[in-house]
Amino acid sequence: MASQLQRPSGKRVLLMGTCLCDAFYDDVARATVEVLEHLGVTVEFPDNQTCCGQPAFNSGDWVASRKVARHTASVFAGEQPVIVPSGSCAAMNFHGNILQFEENPDAAIDSLARRTWEVMDFIANGLGITKWPGKFAEPTRIAFHRSCHSRGTGSGEATLALLASIENAIITPFGQDEQCCGFGGTFSVTFPHISGRMGSLKLDHLLATKPDILVSGDMSCLMHLNGLAVAQGRPIKHLHAIQILRNSLP
């Protein structure tokens, strides 16, 4: 991830909304805009954006995923930071794309990689905000699932610090927190049984701490976990970390 060393910050950014927010979680994208604007950032949403291409990339169809990546890189061309409310889609931009273009490097792909920030990472390490002036009306137990694609990035620490700084927030540690929720995109479709068992085990650990809200930086993990939880008759309130930041503002 050497390409990430010189990431640009600034108060004018492009929002990569992600296909999951486009299809299911519109409020997460809204919260991203509202929080960034609250911080004085101007957010532009290029309307021709679609998906980062990760489903094809993870399936091994790199001809298809490179096509999508080139489209995305052209939609987000320029010098502005690209902000993503997903560790997974962000990692696709700055890691996956570099991998799939390693034999034929592409300037637009490299530029997108260098400018991409996961939103919590951007708030903490791009804008330098590590304390959040939010407040819960009453003590609120938060189980924070650190999504796998944020391993090795600043997102996990950033999110944890911001969440923990909210008044009345209680972060509840849980067992085997390094373990995956079992989603993995196409993995959960091609390996439904293993994926389901991984998710159930994750839920056991998470719910044992009796959280009020399950929080993550990736809606894909939350979609998977809640999808399992509902089917198992143990639904859990789940929100993206950026929604917590917005909702807790006075």
Binding site: G17, D22, A23, F24, Y25, D26, A29, R30, V33, F45, D47, N48, T50, C51, G53, A56, F57, N58, S59, G60, D61, W62, V63, A64, S65, K67, V68, H71, G96, L99, Q100, C148, R151, G152, Q176, E178, Q179, C180, G182, G184, T186, F187, S188, V189, T190, F191, P192, H193, I194, S195, G196, R197, M198, M223, H224, N226, G227, L228, V230, A231
Partner: protein
């Protein structure tokens, strides 16, 4: 076109007892392994990167270092053999054994030997070959296969073992107390050591500057195996070379901590060569068999980083798929993340047979996080998925992605599809005749579609402000 993946099927059909043993055995000790590394080193990642750099350097100059090691070994009185294939390795070992008239031997644990199925081959050729590592000994009694690199019987519990001992006459009564089991194995094995005529080992490291072999165990069984016999044969993959003895400090410190959470394994043996004139015991003859068996092909591939592997098993322990499926699901002595990369590459001509393995990962990256030599396993799995797709290997079970690419590169089509996806909220998609989708929705619900809502909100917001 998209059937059930073999590893998913294996995990579905595995017995509850076996799965519980694997989950328990692999998850136990995760914290210990993490803490011993982070307690002793302020920046373990720096150490991992150093180990990776040393391995990469060695692999880059492997020919030179092998030659150097060979010279040093010969100077110490060791017979050095090179085996290009698994068959070469087996035949070389057999001919050395025949040359020395060996009919019984003991063998300490070696992944290289597992890789070439050395035991059954020697037994077929009339040589009694006894595994002296407790786990491998039990595997041999059961006619089973190891399912973990450092804990071969991770899939068994003590009741299974007590039953085996009773059945095989190692014990006269059923007793599943671990200490009793170990004592009984010890009595049995010690007699065998004394009558053996040769000892076979692997090696964890070979230092090119001195030719010295380093061997780590927790049971001391390789020492016992070598002490009373006249012949020692070490079967070693060519990637086990490291440049200098001083590099051992890096690797030994990482190996024990990553494998078992020990600062150092109980026994660390440095083998200089055959017994010298002033040594009271030890083998008079020593043979080293350097084995390629596909490794130079791996070195020439875009997944060469896997040759850094020092066989600690950390990636297996932490892998959520391995935990659910067990090592046996991977159909090779190398299970889990390392196996999913190594098997399709190492057994190159059989790539299609193993092309499904790299798919068996959510790409969570837990393996890379604990790897003592910083192998980017998820990246390698992805490169192998790309390879399977390019070579049109059907067993890889690829989902056709070109319709997705068309949709994702046609913005207006995409926007329409998003808006229309709301109609799905009222469709019974769980009855669609697509098996994996049915399996998926059998266990999970999907959220309602809000397709296009954010775009609409964003547009209105912009309008309001202009």
């Amino acid at each position: 076109m998209i059937g059930i993946q073999p590893i998913d099927q294996y995990a579905r059909d595995i017995s509850d007892e076996k799965q519980a043993s694997v989950i328990d055995g692999s998850s136990k000790g995760t914290d210990k392994r993490f803490h011993v590394l982070h307690h002793d080193y302020p920046d373990p990642d720096a150490l991992r990167k150093l180990a990776a750099a040393i391995k990469d350097h060695t692999l880059h100059h492997l020919g030179e270092y092998l030659e150097k090691a060979e010279k040093a070994l010969i100077q110490r009185g060791v017979n050095v053999h090179f085996a290009a294939t698994d068959e070469d390795a087996r035949q070389t070992i057999l001919s050395v054994l025949r040359q020395h008239g060996v009919t019984q031997l003991t063998k300490s644990k070696s992944m290289a030997a597992e890789e070439i199925h050395l035991n059954p081959f020697l037994i077929e050729n009339g040589i009694e070959c006894l595994e002296s590592d407790l786990g491998e000994f039990i595997i041999q009694l059961d006619g089973d296969e190891p399912s973990h690199i450092v804990k071969p019987i991770i899939h068994l519990n003590r009741r299974d073992i007590a039953k085996t001992f009773l059945r095989e006459g190692i014990a006269n009564d059923y007793n599943d107390d671990p200490e009793t089991i170990t004592r009984r194995a010890r009595v049995h094995l010690r007699e065998k050591y004394m009558v053996a005529q040769a000892g076979i080992t692997g090696a964890n490291f070979v230092c090119a500057d001195t030719g010295r072999l380093t061997l780590v165990t927790n049971e001391g069984n390789s020492r016992f195996g070598m002490a009373p016999v006249p012949v020692h044969i070490a079967l070693i993959g060519i990637e086990k070379i490291i440049p200098q003895e001083k590099d051992l400090a890096v690797f030994l410190n990482l190996l024990g901590r990553s494998a078992t959470g020990q600062q150092l394994t109980v026994y660390t043996e440095f083998i200089n060569g055959p017994r010298s004139a002033n040594q009271p015991d030890g083998p008079e003859h020593m043979h080293v068999v350097f084995m390629d068996n596909g490794r130079t092909d791996v070195l020439a591939s875009n997944c060469k980083e896997i040759l850094r592997c020092i066989r600690c098993g950390a990636c297996q322990n932490v892998c959520p798929v391995y935990r659910q499926a067990s090592g046996h699901a991977y159909r090779s002595p190398y299970g889990g993340p390392v196996g999913a990369v190594l098997s399709p590459l190492l057994f190159g001509s059989r790539f299609p047979e193993f092309a499904d393995l790299p798919k068996a990962s959510s790409l969570c990256g837990a393996c890379n996080e604990v790897c003592p030599v910083d192998i980017p396993i998820p990246d390698l799995l992805l490169r192998l998925r790309d390879k399977a797709k390019r070579e049109s290997v059907p067993s890889a079970g690829a989902i056709p992605m070109s319709p997705f690419a068309t949709l994702a590169t046609s913005p207006s089509l995409w926007r329409t599809a998003m808006t229309m996806s709301k109609a799905m909220n009222h469709l019974p998609i769980q009855v669609a005749p697509i098996k994996p989708l049915q399996d998926w929705l059998g266990q999970r619900t999907l959220p309602d579609s809000h397709g296009g809502d954010f775009r609409k909100w964003m547009k209105e917001r912009k309008k309001d402000r202009s």
